[in-house]
Structure formats: C-alpha cells, structure tokens
Symmetry: C2
Subunit: 238 residues, 2 copies
Amino acid sequence: MSLRYLSAKVAQQIDDELMSAAGAFSLDQLMELAGLACAQALAKVYGAERYPRVLVCCGPGNQGGDGLVAARHLSMFGYKPTIYMPKPGSKDIYQRLHTQCKNMSISTLPEDEQSLRTALKSSDVVLDAIFGFSFKGPIRAPFDAALPLLSTSRLPIVSVDIPSGWDVEAGNEAGVGLNPHVLVSLTAPKEGVRLFRGQHFLGGRFVPRTLEEKFQLNLPTYPGYDQIVDITELTQKL
Amino acid sequence: MSLRYLSAKVAQQIDDELMSAAGAFSLDQLMELAGLACAQALAKVYGAERYPRVLVCCGPGNQGGDGLVAARHLSMFGYKPTIYMPKPGSKDIYQRLHTQCKNMSISTLPEDEQSLRTALKSSDVVLDAIFGFSFKGPIRAPFDAALPLLSTSRLPIVSVDIPSGWDVEAGNEAGVGLNPHVLVSLTAPKEGVRLFRGQHFLGGRFVPRTLEEKFQLNLPTYPGYDQIVDITELTQKL
C-alpha cells in the first residue's frame, strides 16, 4: 500500500476532523507539533554549527504559525533564526506565537524588500512557511517580489508542506515556485509534490489510526521518538 | 553555576509568567511539550520492545494532563499504554486530552482498586503523573490506596516532576511516596528531589532565556533536538 497524496480539499477535511469535537485537538497543539517537526527536519539536514542563521519566512495563515513555532524551537536548538513576516496573521494565536519568539530574542525583519535582500546575504538556510495547502494563486504582493529573491539567493530552502508558489495539486507547472532542497510534508504529502525530488520528510505524528484508516493515508512508521520520518526513498521509487 | 532547585511557590511563579500576557504561552502548548518530554524520557530508558505495556497514572490536575499527553505520544511511539485516572480533572483541556487518547484506542481502567491491581500485573512500567508541584499532603482517597499498590508492584516507575507522595520541598521524609527509578523534572527540579538518586531527566525546553535569567535557573544544554536532557550526573555530584 503506498502513501496517499492529498488534494487541498482532503487535507482541509483531515485538519477539520482533527480539530472537531470528536478529534478534540486544539490549533495550539497541532501547530506546536507541526512546527516542532519542521524545526527537527531542518536540524536533521542543516546542523546548527554550519548553518546557524535561519531565515524563517512566514505567511499570514496557519502555515506562518507553524513557521513561528519552528523559529522558537530552532532558537532552543542553538540556531540564530530571524523572522521575515511581511503580512502578519490576524489570529490571536499568531500574535502569541510571535510574542513567544520576541521573548526568545528572535528578531523580525522590517517589511520592505531591501531588508529581505540584506537578510538573505547574512543567512545560511531558509525555512519557507509562506504558503500552505490552502494556497490559491496568483502570488500577490509582497510575496510576488519575495519569492524570486529567495530563489536567486541560492540558499538552501526547507519548505513546509508545499513549496511556496506551487499549486497544491498541479505542483510547479507554472514554474514560479521555490525549488526547495528539503520538503516537510505535514500529515501526508499533497498531490502537487509528487514530482518533488529533494529530501522529503513527513511530520505530523498525531494522526490517530482511525483517521489514518478513514482517509487511507498508509502512513509510514516514524523512528523512535522523532516527530519526523524521512520518506525520500518511499516517494521516489521508480 | 549550579542548577537551581525550585520551591513550590517559585515553580508556580514560573508557570504563571509563561502563561501571562507577556509570556504568551497557552496551557495547551506547555502541556503538549511537557507530556512529549515525559514520553521521550520513558522511551529513552524503557524501550517499547521490552516494556510495551505502560500504565499511565494521572491525577486530577495539570500533572494528569501531562500524563494524558504522554500516553498519546507513547501510543504513537509504539507502546500499549493504559490510563489509570480515578479522579478525572474537570478542566475542558483535560477532557479533550482524554478524548484524544480514546481516539488512539488507549483504554482507561475502571476506577476501582481491583482493576488497578489487575492492571499492574499486566504492565511493564508505570508513568506516575499523579501529583505535581502543587501537591499538598495528606494523600487522599483513592490515591492513598493506589500509591502502596504501585510501590508493591515492583514495576519500574517513571515519575513526572515530583514523585507522587513526596512533599514538593521536604521530599520523601514521611516515607509514604513512590520510589521511582526515573524522574522527569519539568522546567527545573523541585527542592524535594535533591536526594533523588535514580536516573534524572529535565524536560520543558521552552523557558525563554530572559525567564531563565530572572529566576537564575542555570539550565543545562539540551542535546540536538531532544525535548529532554539527562541531568543524573549534574544533580548527583558529591
């Protein structure tokens, strides 16, 4: 049985079920575990000694919240993260997660393009938490300018769930998305990343067996007590 | 600089600051990370192959909530946890965490003493999340009967924060507490465990540096991306 790739609609249904009265998870819990998984995946590939300066790019939605959680954990892991968040989310949880980062002395870039340019020159790796599985193009300002800057920086990129700019189902057909070296799919990979050929992790070790079966996810076994599992080979078998 | 041992009052102050408007953490977040740390510590010492059956004993307070989170993660890690929770907490979060466990097919024992006796005979290790740092004796029913049963079972015990029955500051002077093999202190060890001589982990990798400095915690460095650090040697230097 092979791993299921999710449409945007099914990904949303799974999230809804997890947070329904029956699923009983709070957004705080799921975001904490998702962000921790992203931080672990980055730490697994890009060690803090060689890649201390992480530019954490956050969109305005829940994906941006995952990024803020990851930034905090990365700081705990010994990294020096900086947050790029030109359109802060309006939800209360988003503000709280940002405050937690500020309490860790993690700085946030000014919103202008030049600040991003400058920051990229003094970063070692990018965590891309801009767009998630609810992304619908086209890419709007200020991200229409930011994505090309990230791409041309030639820094290694770790993308969360779907590389920013990729269609959740059609992938990077339009060619305007990022080309991450590492992808962290959350819960299960999305349709759009079938052709992704970098290092691929799965995170979101919180899906109950009943939900896994209902949606026929066929999840792999996570190792030990990690919050991530490497699915590179599993997804790139010929 | 040595690790600071906390009084019950200071432990409460730190919790309050973390969850204040300035600290910005939600109880959901902190409990998730605390419970995950407990599950990791148990997994580090008692592998799922030799010790699959974990009896997770939960008190009615936040400590019991940590236990429920740990039970869920242990189930994810491949253990077969069972919950003993004779006095369920009344908070909404407690109910939600219990529902999450039920969704993982984790069973909860009936509340009677005989069920506990029977369950102990088919368990490999106990996770003690009965009393936390707000415990004030004497030990009341049904825990006055449960603690001796846990002690006489001779199963290895992993205690969370303060071994149940120990005074948070005076320790096990009265001799009525559990004698765990492993202790997982959360945030920082409590005064009462200065004389603990088993394997000792620290969890709660979420304390911002500013708070650490304000309370002079002198926390050790956590390894890699673990949520726990072994402080056995650090706390048992002569």
